[in-house]
Amino acid sequence: MSQETLQSVAPITSPSVKSVGPDLTLVWYGLGIAALLAAPFFFYPIFLVKVLCFALFACAFNLLLGSCGLLSFGHAAFFGAAGYVAGHAAKEWGLPFEAALVCGTATAAAIGLLFGYVSVRRQGLQFAMITLALAQLVYFLALQLPFTHAEDGLSAIPRGKVLGMFDLNNIFVLYYATAAVFLIGFIAMHRMTNSTFGQLLRAIRDNEPRAISLGYEVHRYKLMAFVLSATMAGLAGSTKAIAFKIVALTDVHWSTSGSVILMTLLGGLGTLFGPVVGAAVVVSMEDYLADSGLPINAVIGAIFILCILLFRRGIVGEIQQRFGKR
């Protein structure tokens, strides 16, 4: 099978945006931050918190797919495992908010290193199969380890205070704390994709034999990207665990991995804001469908099928195609 490129996936930032100069990126950032600041006055903050957690998760997934061309089918493992550890740290060890996040994120990074080490040497479909199977291992561990409480999961996780001062039980404080975490993760990932490291990853994605012949140890770079992606997924999972005070088996289940793929696909694979848009759409859709009595998984499956057959570029990708690239 030929695995050299993902022709249909656009680079993570389209060159046209970059060529205009850095000020346009700053404009986008300004608008984005303004929207983040204003959003809780227009939407229910808890809903936005959920969107932001999944948006960060989808960005992490997109980081790996967009820059390396690696489709992971097991990202729920990092999201969920980090959630369990962060929740346990906050509830049983009584750690403050920030420390709990660090514990969860570090766990995801460690699992990412372990899984990445065996999986990045395989490509394409095999990589997807391996990550799916490894994630199932984490699922069964979550089912059986004592601290995860099997089917019950972790609940009543204390939210604590940000910086020891601001009580996260105030939903506005909770929202702004989550927004800050999201922004830190988002900017870090954006910086990374535009760095030399990010360029190198794209070079490997587009022509791996050539990158090898130039003397780069491609597996090591892929592994770094994998660990970074897992770490960011873990940050999202930890934040979600604390914000919603609950971690359950669904967080490590393959359906969550599928859900994050759908978010990225729907928003636009490889685009900068696509995963954020996709997360907003999928989270609102799931909230809406949960009360409608429709078969939620069948609807998600149908959207998957339609999306792949009719608009593969996703929402942001289609918009960029129409207006961005002239």
């Binding site: 089918f73 391996i130 393959w254 998984n297 609807v299 499956g301």
Partner: protein, 289 residues
């Protein structure tokens, strides 16, 4: 630990191994021909089990007729899906094929959960295969022996059809070099439909065999397919015999773990996969590409 329990679990392992073998064989055929990893294979297995149950409860059609009819029905459903949906993504990156079959799996399973709920439905063992043999060291329920036998027959028949018949030769030619095969006037798109149909029909047949053992439920194939993926990774892509041997081996190992360390039984195959990837990244029977 009693010998009875040990052999009982090894038998269960052998049966699971038979299902892994039939599913991974179908996966291998589809992957070879279409370049698609069919994650919906588990859903077709479920479809097979459910159709068996429905044939009996709605039309009074019994087990042995179902064993003949269900693979055909599932194969036809598969062929229709190939013709309408999968065909659209052949010229795209392989990733889209995987995602498309993932959507198909979610849709089929979601619909069955919606109409039939998730509870398992029992299916009676056919009376001709009821009872058990006393082998001296253990009791062998006739039906369980039959499942192993039948799946070996199914796998062997598929292997024979692919390696020894003229349709099989054409299929292999189309797998090897579709452009050239087409130039010889062979209808390659038609072969792809047939190939996908055969691949999912195997999963459907496994579903029929499973119906009297495992309760028929819409989610019966959801976790199974992930195990089968791990089995395929362990065995390595490419060798039919290799994937059958790996399936049986891992099934037995899983059964053995159930006796020795029951908590680990649903994890052991994934752990083996991890170790194999560390030592032999291409899988036991695969070649490094």
């Amino acid at each position: 630990m009693s010998m009875q329990a040990l052999f009982g679990q090894l038998l269960v392992g052998l049966i699971n191994g038979s299902f892994y073998a039939m599913l991974s064989l179908g996966l291998a055929i589809i992957f070879g021909l279409l370049g698609i990893t069919n994650i919906a294979q588990g859903a077709f297995y479920m479809l097979g089990g459910f159709t068996t149950w429905l044939l009996f409860h709605w039309a009074g059609i019994g087990y042995f007729w179902a064993l003949l009819l269900v693979p055909v029905i599932v194969g036809l459903v598969g062929a229709a899906i190939e013709k309408t949906l999968l065909r659209q993504v052949y010229n795209l990156d392989h990733m889209y094929g995987l995602l498309l079959t993932f959507g198909i799996m979610m849709f089929i399973q979601g619909m069955f959960v919606y109409f039939f709920a998730t509870a398992g439905r029992p299916y009676a063992v056919p009376s001709a295969l009821g009872g058990a043999y006393n082998l001296g060291f253990m009791y062998l329920p006739k039906y369980r022996g039959w499942v192993v036998l039948a799946s070996v027959v199914f796998c062997f028949a598929t292997w024979f059809a692919i390696e020894k018949t003229s349709l099989g030769r054409t299929l292999r030619a189309a797998t090897e070099n579709p452009t050239l095969t087409r130039a010889f006037g062979v209808n390659v798109p038609g072969l792809m439909t047939i190939g996908f149909g055969i691949g999912v029909a195997l999963a459907g047949a496994a579903g029929v065999l499973a119906a009297p053992i495992y309760p028929v439920s819409p989610l019966m194939g959801a976790d199974l397919i992930i195990v089968v993926f791990a089995v395929v990774v362990v065995g390595g892509m490419g060798s039919i015999l290799g994937s059958i041997v790996t399936s049986m081996m891992l099934g037995l190992l899983e059964g053995l773990t159930k006796v020795v360390y029951p908590q680990g039984s649903n994890m052991v195959i994934f752990v083996i996969m991890f170790i194999v990837l560390l030592i032999r990244p291409a899988g036991l029977f695969g070649r490094e590409r």
